[in-house]
C-alpha cells in the first residue's frame, strides 16, 4: 500500500514590491494531506487548478521532497530510499512531453528501460510486450516526431510501465485526446488496475472519466483535503439536489392539484404549458420520482414524458468550490 500522512509542501517565493525590494511569501501548495492507494485500486485526486494535485503527485513519485509528513510505499520511506521507490512507481503526464521525439518508440523504451537497470533479453521482451499492449506494433520503429497525439500518449503509457511499477500516477492522461482514443486509454487504465493489479492515482479535469474509473476520490482545495470517499458517496454528501422534468396530459386543475401535493412533500414545482400538455419542473433534496408517479396514477393522468437528472461528480466539485470561495 502507498500511504501519505500529514503531507506538506511549502514554498517560499519572492514577490517584487518595488525597483529593488522583494517580499518573501510562503505558499502552502499542500497542507496536511493524508491519502492511501491500494494495489488494484484506481484513486482519483481532484481539485481546481492550483489545488495541489500535481505537487502531491510529484512528491509521491520522488520528484519533490515534502516539507514535512511521511510517504511510504509498501513500508519503505520515499525520502529515505528514493532509488528503491523509483523502481516501484512511475508517472505519466498528459500532453506530448516525457518522450524523445527523434527516437523511435522502441528506442525510447530501450533507453528508459536501461535507465531502470534492465538489459538483454528481459529488456527487449519487455519493450516488445509494452509496444503490443499500447497497440504501436506497426509504428514501433518510426520516430516519435511522426506520431499523432494519441500515439504519443499511448507510448507514454508504455514508458510509464517500463519498470513494471506497482503504483502508477496519471496526471491528466487524456488531456486533449479525441473521444475514441481517450476511451481506449480509459480501458487500458482500468485493465492495469483490475487485471495487472497496479495501484493507480489519477488526476483529470474530465470528471465523467474520474466517476467512471475511480474506486475512491480525494478532493483537495488550496492544498487542503476537503473530502474523501467513493464518487457516489461524495455526490450524495455534497449535492443533495435532484431534478425531475415531466409532461402530463389533463386539465389545468389537475396540474394545480399535482403542484400542491408535491409542494406538501417539500418539492419545488413550476408548471408551464407545452404542445403535449403541462410541463412540470420539479426540484427536491431527495429522489421524488416514485412519489410523483404515484400521484400521477392516483389522479389518473397520462404521463407523456419523464426525465430525471441525477447529480454527478462535476456538480459536487462545483458546489465544493463555490462553498470554499464563499468561506
Amino acid at each position: 500500500m502507498l500511504e501519505a500522512r500529514h503531507l506538506k509542501k511549502y514554498y517560499t517565493v519572492k514577490e517584487k514590491t518595488g525597483w529593488f525590494s522583494r517580499e518573501k511569501q510562503l505558499i502552502r501548495a499542500v497542507d496536511e494531506i493524508d491519502l492511501s492507494i491500494d494495489k488494484g485500486e484506481i484513486v482519483g485526486l481532484l481539485g481546481v487548478n492550483g489545488a495541489g494535485k500535481t505537487t502531491t503527485i510529484k512528491m509521491l513519485s520522488t520528484l519533490l521532497t515534502p516539507t514535512s509528513g511521511t510517504i511510504t510505499v509498501d513500508g519503505t520511506n520515499v525520502v529515505e530510499q528514493p532509488n528503491r521507490i523509483k523502481q516501484q512507481v512511475n508517472m505519466i503526464a498528459g500532453g506530448e512531453r516525457m518522450l524523445y521525439w527523434r527516437l523511435t518508440a522502441r528506442e525510447n523504451l530501450m533507453y528508459f528501460g536501461k535507465l531502470y537497470g534492465l538489459h538483454g533479453q528481459t529488456l527487449t521482451e519487455r519493450c516488445r510486450q509494452l509496444i503490443r499492449l499500447v497497440g504501436l506494433d506497426e509504428a514501433a520503429d518510426h520516430p516519435v516526431e511522426r506520431y499523432s497525439k494519441g500515439m504519443k500518449q499511448r507510448l507514454q503509457i508504455a514508458r510509464g510501465l517500463i519498470n513494471d511499477p506497482d503504483y502508477l500516477f496519471l496526471d491528466e492522461p487524456t488531456l486533449g485526446l479525441d473521444a475514441p482514443v481517450a476511451r481506449q486509454l480509459r480501458k487500458t487504465v482500468k485493465d492495469l488496475a483490475k487485471v495487472r493489479n497496479k495501484g493507480i492515482l489519477l488526476t483529470s479535469h474530465y470528471l465523467e472519466e474520474v466517476q467512471e474509473l475511480c474506486d475512491r476520490v480525494y478532493i483537495i482545495e488550496k492544498g487542503h483535503l476537503l473530502l474523501h470517499g467513493t464518487p457516489e458517496r461524495i455526490i450524495q454528501t455534497v449535492v443533495n439536489i435532484f431534478h425531475l422534468q415531466a409532461v402530463v396530459s389533463g386539465q389545468s386543475s389537475d396540474s394545480i392539484w399535482l403542484k400542491q401535493e408535491l409542494e406538501k412533500r417539500n418539492v419545488q414545482v413550476s408548471v408551464k404549458d407545452s404542445d403535449e400538455g403541462k410541463l412540470l419542473h420539479m426540484t427536491a433534496s431527495f429522489d421524488m420520482t416514485a412519489s410523483f408517479i404515484a400521484l400521477v396514477a392516483k389522479q389518473g393522468l397520462i404521463l407523456k414524458k419523464l426525465e430525471a437528472t441525477k447529480p454527478n461528480l462535476e456538480d459536487a466539485i462545483i458546489k465544493l468550490a463555490e462553498e470554499s470561495h464563499a468561506s
Binding site: K58, L64, P82, E96, M98, R102, N163
Partner: protein, 269 residues
C-alpha cells in the same frame, strides 16, 4: 553508472546520426578557422613576421603560427565539449523529458559521461577538420609522442568535462544557454592563451587563466607537439590541471544535484 552511461551514449549517438546539428559543427570549425586565418594574416601582413621578444621567453617557442593554430584548435575542442555536456539537462528541460529522466534511479555521472564520450566523437571530428586547415597555413608539429599525448589529452578532457558540469548548473539556474555559455567562452578565449600568452594581459586578468583548464591544456599540448621536450613546469601543469578537474568535478556534481532540485521545485512544483 555503466547502464546509465551506455544508455545515454547510445541515445546521443542515435540522435546525432538522425539529426546531426550541422550548424554547431560548422560554427565550431569556423571559430577555429577564424583564429588560424587571423593569426596568419596578422603575423605575415601586419607584423611582417616580427615577434615581441617576450613572446619566446613566455612561450618557449618562436613558432607563433603553430602556437596560435594549436590555440584555435584546442579552444574549439573545449567549446564543443563544454557545450555538449553542459546543455544536456537544460535541453531535457526544454524538450520536456527532464521529469522522465529524474523519475529513473539512474546515475547522473553516468548520464553526463555517456554524453561526453559520445560528444568527444563529434569534437574530435571538428578538431581534425581545423587541424587539416591549419596545415595549409603553416601549422608545424615537431613531434607527437602518443605515450605523453594520450595522458595529457585524457586529463584535459576530464577537466573540461568537470568544468561543463559547473557550467550546466549555471545554465539550469539562469534557464539560459546562450548568454551563460558565451560569457564563459569569451573570458576563456581571452585569458587562456589561445592566440597570445596570458602574461601579456594585466595581472588581474592573467590570474583568471589559473582557473581555466584550457590554459593548462594549451601549455601541455603545445609543450608536447611543438616544443619537443617535457619540462618540470609541464609536470606541474599536468597536476594542476588534474587538481582543477577534481575541484570542478566535486563542485559540479554538488551544484547539479542542487539545481536539479531547485528546477523541479520552481518550475514543475
Amino acid at each position: 553508472m555503466w547502464a546509465s552511461f551506455s544508455a545515454t551514449f547510445n541515445r546521443q549517438f542515435m540522435t546525432m546520426r538522425r539529426a546531426y546539428p550541422w550548424s554547431f559543427f560548422i560554427g565550431h570549425i569556423l571559430d577555429g578557422v577564424y583564429i588560424i586565418i587571423f593569426a596568419y594574416l596578422s603575423y605575415h601582413f601586419i607584423f611582417q613576421g616580427q615577434l615581441n621578444k617576450n613572446f619566446t621567453s613566455y612561450t618557449g617557442t618562436s613558432n607563433y603560427l603553430s602556437y596560435a593554430m594549436i590555440g584555435g584548435m584546442l579552444n574549439s575542442f573545449s567549446v564543443s565539449l563544454l557545450m555538449i555536456v553542459s546543455r544536456m539537462l537544460i535541453t531535457e528541460m526544454r524538450e520536456g523529458t527532464l521529469e522522465a529522466l529524474l523519475l529513473t534511479p539512474s546515475s547522473r555521472q553516468g548520464y553526463f559521461l555517456g554524453a561526453a564520450v559520445q560528444g568527444l566523437m563529434r569534437s574530435c571530428i571538428e578538431m581534425i577538420a581545423i587541424f587539416s586547415i591549419g596545415l595549409f597555413f603553416g601549422l608545424k608539429m615537431v613531434s607527437v609522442n602518443a605515450l605523453i599525448l594520450i595522458p595529457v589529452l585524457s586529463v584535459f578532457c576530464f577537466a573540461i568535462f568537470s568544468q561543463a558540469l559547473v557550467l550546466g548548473s549555471f545554465m539550469l539556474v539562469f534557464r539560459d544557454t546562450y548568454i551563460t555559455q558565451n560569457t564563459l567562452f569569451v573570458i576563456m578565449t581571452l585569458v587562456s592563451g589561445v592566440s597570445f600568452p596570458p602574461q601579456f594581459l594585466p595581472g588581474w586578468l592573467h590570474t583568471l587563466s589559473c582557473i581555466m583548464p584550457l590554459s593548462y591544456g594549451l601549455n601541455l599540448f603545445r609543450g608536447v607537439v611543438i616544443e619537443e621536450h617535457w619540462s618540470g613546469s609541464m609536470t606541474q601543469d599536468l597536476f594542476l590541471l588534474f587538481g582543477l578537474g577534481v575541484l570542478y568535478f566535486i563542485a559540479g556534481s554538488i551544484f547539479i544535484k542542487r539545481t536539479e532540485k531547485t528546477v523541479v521545485e520552481k518550475y514543475f512544483g
